[in-house]
Subunit: 308 residues, 2 copies
């Protein structure tokens, strides 16, 4: 842990109102920045750039600091925090957005504190691609830049998104986003097309089916860990990204092999997230627990490949 | 190959009319028995029990025999062969049945030739569970009994299906069938429930996302091989089952490890099937090709787990 490199995370901090098949929960602390910061903090020091309103709980910020998350870059704006409300289908896969209130997030302009500027690893959460570029303009050339995006920007801001992609090492998106971005349905060819536009590596998340990494070394498949119970899938993708960068912050170099191992650690981290509502589980997640689940995931793969 | 045990396959032989996103193809030779027999014949001698009508092509039967498939158990009935017509969605995942004509299959009563009765491996394709039981009553206790089933029998014949399950070692079904059979949405708990009803092992197929094996050793995840192009997914599940039994026919004992390796060979076999319309590709598939794809699939898993 002590030798891990610091990770800069830019993303949203929010309240979520969640209608889950089992529970309805309101004012749940969420947001891509919050989830991925908690997840990455299992492995490495984290620095967050985000914006919160007057109503954001001090307790959450204190919990973050207690885990080695630097909150200096979290701007406190006058007004209400970003809110999202959604309803999940019975299968916990499909979901419907019921309400989005940008509030203080609407005028968010990431300001990177001086002490954050030399962060060797950067996670650009799903915000306007122009802001993602703006963040990269404020930092020294990091060792690794990872970005997320979404359909809204793929359709609405294709040009600026294209510029952002040229400056990113790894893009982490889901299968529908990959199809929309590339215009290609076949996942393998979609990934090839996205890689031509900038990122050397692409991870395609497929929810309960795991994730695929496409890079110069080929394809790596990380199956999701089949859980006995999933409570709340919100934030799983952000925890995946946080766990991925967290692991990569602990290795001397980002290589195809360390990227594959990072996928397994990311899967383990995300699998804990969905076992409870909101950030409840991931906010308390320890390194030993992640290692335990990594071992369980390794068993999912065991078939003595060398002897085949 | 020479030391492989013979496999008895009971299933359908059919004509399919396929509306694929790229091509419309009529009178395509198909059926679960046909697909799985071709797939299994890559590895081992195969014995087929099925029924065809007057219109079934002699050429297909000759191709089967040329691959070491014993066709003595294929009954020639007077009338037309079973026909299925379906339309695939653009994503090649969803599909709609347009027409089903059972024809000679409606009165199918599997009659196991004497020379087939000591087959050590048995694949009970998706037919009425009473007929699956009837097949088991006609054979000496095999080393391994594998069965497939479908929603139609799960909903319509739950009692007799339950009796069939008690006599099966391995059930190979898809995720929706597992959910319907168990009444449980969560895949891991659904598999646990199905295993309580008889089969010591359950494989849950998830199409383009691969398959999961649940047995006494835990869970094994076999990701599908991401292909550059999928032409026709018809028969992929049957080729998976055929490839699985084919591999198991070549090993001295069915162990958790050999079952996992069989999953990888099954994945490789099925991946070839979907590269062409109908049985076109699998009917010519060679062992060296399967080994080549097994090697490619092994690369999907490589992350030096031992060192983590």
């Amino acid at each position: 842990m002590k030798s891990a490199s610091p990770i800069l995370i830019v993303g949203s901090m929010a309240f979520d109102d969640l209608q889950l098949p089992t529970i309805t929960a309101t004012d749940v602390v969420g947001g891509s920045g919050t989830y991925s910061a908690f997840a990455a903090s299992v492995f490495a020091p984290v620095r967050v750039v985000a914006v919160v309103g007057d109503d954001f709980p001090q307790g959450t910020l204190e919990s973050m600091r207690a885990r080695g998350i630097d909150t200096e870059g979290i701007e406190h704006a006058s007004g209400r925090t970003f809110r999202w409300a959604g309803r999940y289908d019975a299968d916990l896969v499909g979901r419907t957005t019921l309400d989005t209130q940008l509030n203080v997030f609407a005028s968010f302009q990431p300001k990177i504190p001086t002490s954050y500027r030399s962060s060797p690893l950067v996670l650009l959460g799903n915000i306007h691609p122009a802001l993602q570029i703006d963040v990269l303009n404020q930092v020294e050339r990091p060792r690794l830049v990872v970005a997320d995006t979404m359909n809204f920007w793929i359709q609405g801001e294709p040009k600026i998104l294209g510029e952002m992609l040229e400056r990113v090492d790894l893009l982490v998106i889901n299968d529908e986003e990959a199809r929309l971005l590339s215009g290609i349905h076949n996942i393998r060819r979609a990934a090839d097309e996205v890689r031509k536009r900038g990122p050397r590596s692409v991870i395609i998340k497929r929810g309960e089916h795991g994730a695929l990494l496409f890079d110069d070394d080929g394809i790596f498949a990380a199956p999701a860990f089949p859980l006995h119970e999933v409570i709340d899938p919100t934030g799983a993708g952000d925890c995946f990204a946080g766990g991925l960068l967290g692991y990569l912050a602990t290795v001397p170099a980002v290589t195809p092999l360390s990227m594959r191992r990072a996928m397994v650690h990311a899967t383990a981290t995300a699998s804990y997230c969905v076992e409870a509502v909101g950030t409840e589980r991931v906010a308390k997640l320890g390194h030993a627990e992640v290692k335990e689940r990594v071992a369980a995931i390794c068993k999912l793969y065991e078939f003595g490949a060398g002897a085949m």
